[in-house]
């Protein structure tokens, strides 16, 4: 059943996000710490567990796959509700304060990637779309 897949996803989402909220609270800050990350790990673990038991049935899996296919459309909607006007019109200081750190960090990527070159370049992931 499709709803089983959606419900599994919802279970992971709620459990992970709640864990993130509580972790934030425990650290004394007003923000969610890693909620989405916990939810993703939980989904991977549940998926592994299902795979060992012979895999979830196709429809259940479709309930999750649907949302991962909806990801890009949702991102398109998300970019349409950003406060772009402020980003464009807030003057040079905000623009520089937004861009300079990105450039600084970008230079670190090859360095960090080289640090760990021994790790395999590709895992056995399957494309989502």
């Amino acid at each position: 059943m499709i709803i089983y897949g959606v419900a599994i996803l919802a279970f992971c989402y709620i459990t992970g996000q709640l864990a993130g909220e509580f972790l934030g609270k425990a650290l004394g800050i007003d923000a969610n710490v890693g909620g989405v990350g916990f939810a993703m790990l939980l989904l991977i673990l549940i998926n592994d567990w299902f795979a060992k038991k012979g895999g979830p049935d196709k429809l259940t899996e479709n309930g999750i796959q649907f949302w991962s296919q909806m990801y890009i459309p949702i991102v398109v909607a998300m970019s349409a509700v950003q406060n772009v006007k402020v980003a464009v019109s807030s003057g040079l200081i905000a623009i520089l304060a937004g861009i300079l750190p990105v450039l600084l960090c970008l230079t670190m990527i090859p360095v960090l990637a080289k640090l760990t070159k021994k790790a395999p370049q590709h895992g056995d992931y399957s494309p989502v779309s």
């Binding site: 673990l45 949302w67 890009i72 909607a77 990105v102 960090c105 395999p120």
Partner: protein
């Protein structure tokens, strides 16, 4: 006319589905005909979204892009954090746990580096503009992390409201810049594998920027970047008003 607007507003989410579908189709056609698929359709669609957001902001003067136009308010639901996070979690289905575990420690390292470097970058720009007090410097530096870290930090250490607004603007610029620049820069920084994507997510940190930028580059990389980026805002909110603020006070005093 009023009936139509009220109807569209009432069924906002469905209207957004239709509109995004049309945008996606138009982008696919543009990508095909004009760029010979050199620029992926998803990148064009996301760019169109940003243009719509700008138009919405100009027309209404609001803060929520196109969603401030009543008939298109459903974009706010579809593009809100609930749907975004829900669909990000679902992309983990295609991710490899082995790769994530192997990259785990670099991911953590990239998070710390990302926060500290962004903070320093923001502080440098603020210094250039003549800010010298620790509170303003810290708040603008925090805004250079993400647009959530900025105001959270500013509120915690008592920054003035114009500095807070500035820090939010810096964070928004960062998100937009990462979204647009990622597909173009990907080649130069070797961003074509899950491993680098995890480092990228940790260094950039802006969940919306990372998720949109990676989606435009290669959708397979999204779960890896999102996994590390999701810890960034929390860690930033933790370290900016505490350790980094104390550091700034030591360097610049209370003046």
């Amino acid at each position: 006319m009023e009936i139509i607007v009220r109807f569209l507003d009432k069924n906002g989410l469905i209207v957004a589905f239709l509109c995004v579908g049309i945008i996606t189709y138009a982008s696919a056609v543009l990508s095909d005909r004009l760029t010979n698929r050199k620029i992926p359709g998803s990148a064009i669609a996301i760019l169109m979204g940003l243009v719509l957001a700008y138009i919405g902001g100009r027309v209404t003067g609001g803060e929520k892009g196109i969603a401030d136009i009543k008939a298109l308010s459903g974009f706010g639901i579809m593009g809100g954090s609930m749907f975004r996070d829900f669909s990000i979690v679902s992309t983990a289905m295609g991710a490899s746990f082995v790769v994530m575990r192997k990259t785990g420690w670099v991911g953590a390292l990239s998070l710390f580096l990302g926060i500290v470097l962004s903070f320093i970058g923001g502080v440098l720009v603020a210094l250039l503009w003549g800010y010298t007090d620790a509170i303003s410097l810290t708040t603008i530096g925090a805004g250079a992390c993400t647009y959530i870290v900025g105001p959270v930090t500013g509120a915690a250490i008592g920054a003035s409201s114009d500095v807070m607004a500035l820090s939010i603007a810096a964070g928004v610029v960062k998100a937009v810049f990462v979204t647009i620049a990622t597909p173009f820069l990907a080649r130069f920084i070797g961003l074509d594998n899950p491993h680098t994507a995890m480092i990228f997510g940790g260094l950039m940190g802006t969940t919306s920027g990372v998720s949109a930028g990676l989606a435009a580059t290669d959708p397979k990389l999204v779960p890896y970047g999102a996994l590390t980026a999701t810890f960034y805002t929390g860690l930033g909110c933790l370290s900016c008003p505490s350790v980094l603020y104390l550091l700034m006070r030591m360097l610049f005093g209370n003046g």
